[in-house]
Symmetry: C2
Subunit: 624 residues, 2 copies
Amino acid sequence: MTAQAPTETLGPEADLARVFDLAQQLRVDSVRASTSAGSGHPTSSLSAADLMAVLMTRHLRYDWDDPGNPANDHLVFSKGHASPLLYAMFRAAGVVAEDELLNTYRRFGARLEGHPTPVLPWVDVATGSLGQGIAYAVGIALAGRDLEGQPYRVWTLCGDSEMAEGSVWEAVDKAGRHRLANFTAIVDVNRLGQCGATELGWDTAAYARRIEAFDCRALTVDGHDVGAVDRALTTAADGKAPTVVIARTVKGRGVGEIADHEGWHGKPLPEELAGRAVAELGGVRHLLARGPRPPAGTQADRPPAGPVELPRYDVGEDVATRSAFGKALAALGARPDVVVLDAEVGNSTHAEDFKKAYPQRYFQTYIAEQQMIAAAVGMAARGYRPYAATFAAFLTRAHDFIRMAAVSRATLALSGSHCGVEIGADGPSQMGLEDLAMMRAVHGSTVLYPGDATSATALTAAMADLPGISYLRTTRGAYPVLYPADETFPVGGSKTPRRSDQDTVTLVGAGVTLHECLAAADQLADEGIRARVVDLYSVKPLDAETLARAARETGALVVAEDHHPEGGIGEAVRSALGAERLAPALTHLAVTVLPGSGTTAELLDEAGISRNHIVRAARALTGR
Amino acid sequence: MTAQAPTETLGPEADLARVFDLAQQLRVDSVRASTSAGSGHPTSSLSAADLMAVLMTRHLRYDWDDPGNPANDHLVFSKGHASPLLYAMFRAAGVVAEDELLNTYRRFGARLEGHPTPVLPWVDVATGSLGQGIAYAVGIALAGRDLEGQPYRVWTLCGDSEMAEGSVWEAVDKAGRHRLANFTAIVDVNRLGQCGATELGWDTAAYARRIEAFDCRALTVDGHDVGAVDRALTTAADGKAPTVVIARTVKGRGVGEIADHEGWHGKPLPEELAGRAVAELGGVRHLLARGPRPPAGTQADRPPAGPVELPRYDVGEDVATRSAFGKALAALGARPDVVVLDAEVGNSTHAEDFKKAYPQRYFQTYIAEQQMIAAAVGMAARGYRPYAATFAAFLTRAHDFIRMAAVSRATLALSGSHCGVEIGADGPSQMGLEDLAMMRAVHGSTVLYPGDATSATALTAAMADLPGISYLRTTRGAYPVLYPADETFPVGGSKTPRRSDQDTVTLVGAGVTLHECLAAADQLADEGIRARVVDLYSVKPLDAETLARAARETGALVVAEDHHPEGGIGEAVRSALGAERLAPALTHLAVTVLPGSGTTAELLDEAGISRNHIVRAARALTGR
């Protein structure tokens, strides 16, 4: 296929009749791309083509020659499955060739993936898990207005099915609460989901009531009336209010044989039908759409980073790692790229310490963990280094968002406090006992679990320069500082606070169990058993070398973790040793009970991970 | 402390002045219990005491002598941290003694845990992770009306902070959509969350707008005016509409020194202040509250289970395990306790097959995975055996609900389809690559991953009788049936479809990688390498014995899984072997790349888990 020169360039002043032609081109290309790929969602693209044609010619202020222009508007396809439409827009913008669209979409190795990801320079965030794009858009809008001071607008295209996701209402709520006048969501109400009619069908009034109740402006339009759409988007861009355009549309619009028909979700048109559809849509076009350019940026140069002076602790003083996290965060605020997000537990996670020092870079998302992570991803897409913190247990609420953040290639630092049975009386609902498994399994993640304030401080600081998703697990209670302030804690390393040439067993712990291991080692020493103690503050990557050496030198290990047995430290250690062809005598102590309330000591003991259990296991392993 | 006989019994006709006395008793007991425990949330209890006093004397139709009475109303504390209030109500009902309340609350081994769990006979579901109780209540209300045909009402007490959770709006939406006239939520709008003012403060009109926009009836009251509360609850119980009572209250109400003060969330009153508070509240009382009894149940005896005739497949025919799951579900519908929940992907997961046969036991929750799991937990609490299915990737959306379902001791069967890179062109947003780690780490879970239709059928059926949370991972594509229909697949077992005494390597797979292992074994056989193949259809519990035998007999293993390397099959195998003191030569093949689009074969190969990679690994291990 040879490159086809555009027949005409549509600018912001283009007549609406020509904009409709562009919409037809987007439809034709959506049909062609998905039929060629043999999969995809053409009907979900056809319904939104008029909306997007109007947006890209007249409202989206975007420098297609410089996607990095900081004043560019942002467009997030929350309905990521409408990727044929998005990619057809890229072709219309002249940045993706017809050949690439038709011959690489959904193919192996192609950047035009089944759902959009930031491997494309015009895509900020990965979408495809529904109810997420709109939430990221809120984060980008917050960054634009409150961090960057940029004039850009953020536009997001939502499907109607995804409006059933609670996360959408967290997002709309935050758009309303923050009065994000630079935020516009466009809901493509095409009535049909994957399994038939959606919950609200074409009841656009119901959507409007909900949007308004969540304090955003609702504009209801016929999504195929390009004039009405243009007027709505003009209003949306008036800078007065966060806006949701509720567009009544027809799924498969423009192709009579399938329009508004059930059974066509996620199905490409067979070749023959595709041919008829292209003809019905007026055939292949080669319009170039170049809408308004971004306004000159008002980019205030980000202030230079001040010196980061991390707190120092004296060995032996009792400090909770969550407290050290908060104080380190506050110190890191000297870096102007660091932002902090809370889910209304900042006085528990100690993220609040940052707020006192840098209130303008502290975002309270209230108890909406999904939106907390989404806002962090949006800010990360704008170059910030977000730290988001809640209880470790409640990060599970945002698991899908964390998973997708990795697909977005986002860099963010998460902290989960109140891990394990250590928390005591509050009981299992508040105990993070699955978080290590969750966070280790995230693509490209780093998982850190400091046992004292010095290491918590160093690792909190290290996270500001780690790529990808990093996670810091912190503990509720205060425990003695173990390391002097100048000690270093490389990611992937470990510490060996107890060690001798006569060690006959190694006790491996992290967080609270590190302290239990140290106490156990003391007791074992009294009994004449020399125990090495390894502090696995870096759970992923793991210091396999030190563990292997310990296994070889001592021959026996006790691994104790305040987490369920699966997916945590024990399995990580076993795997690391197995990879070295080592199968030492190893006792894995983890939380196998369903805990209740109690003191820390009682619950550690009941769970079998206390110093007593470690001593017992070590005795058994050493034959004593 | 000696048991104190009640001074007076308040029945449904009790004067409202006496009901207020009961509220003061609940306050006094909330203060005493939390001060005695040294932790807890008295101020969050004080705000709701009037609401609960009115509810329990005049509206909650409950047979305290028989918590198993199927016509009993249900009360779910969505704000589970107000447990002092709930337990004070149990004392007022005469089912918990004063001694137990004051001397065991939050203590080790006690049933009066920090947050309520079903170890108490009057508690249906565990709460404490906010935004969940209201969602469970919707499930119980659905069960009562649509499954049991019982006249009970479901009441749930929510906090105002938790209204920021998207899951709450999924729940309100479903209450509205299903017109659950037996459902009433009471929102305790005390204005103060953990970190200060809530998002909406005392803007009860804003709450009302949102509730009404989500199609429930909103009633706004002064939550300390017992007469007004009584009228609102009377209206709520009129059987006309799902209702949310928005009660304006004061946190810490009744104790002047702390009422409406910030900084008192989750803090017990110090002894002296508690003493003054009890005095201010009128001192210790011993009122017994016995409200209305439940109406005579209309319990239609559940129809007897018909014979379950599971589908049978011929060895060699191509069938997707997700398809086998759906057909097995439809067969299991002969059991009247089996119910199925979908999140608008039933035509992908094949859960929809059940709908065709048993539409009255099929619940469409649309794209609201949290509510899907919550409704399942609610139905499980009523004795049903729910199966809930969506894409494996999207079960992560409900991780916190799944975790809490285990704390609720719920029995439910989950199925996640479209696991791994196997799905092909749709790309990473749709690929379940973390689900095994997530589900293995759930307390008491069972994790199953069938490789063919016969095993998928048997395991789907087995799940109907498994305790706790069970999970079936299914695959998108169709693969040959491997086992004859009469083969059995015990949970905790495995199959060894290839085996000889000359095996020099064992290939371990499950799901799609089982087929890759079989193909690899064929190719290796051509090269003169005899490979054993193990089908790990039961990932948790794991057949450690067969794996250990294979390690001993063949000396080398290749484990291939369509999942990230952490927390899945590879680590489970390594741990099982390590526990047997075995460290065979083992190559663990898992998805370490961030995949894009492509065909199944391309993506399996790129991820390094295809037959080619298995062959290469086996060759290397066997020195060929």
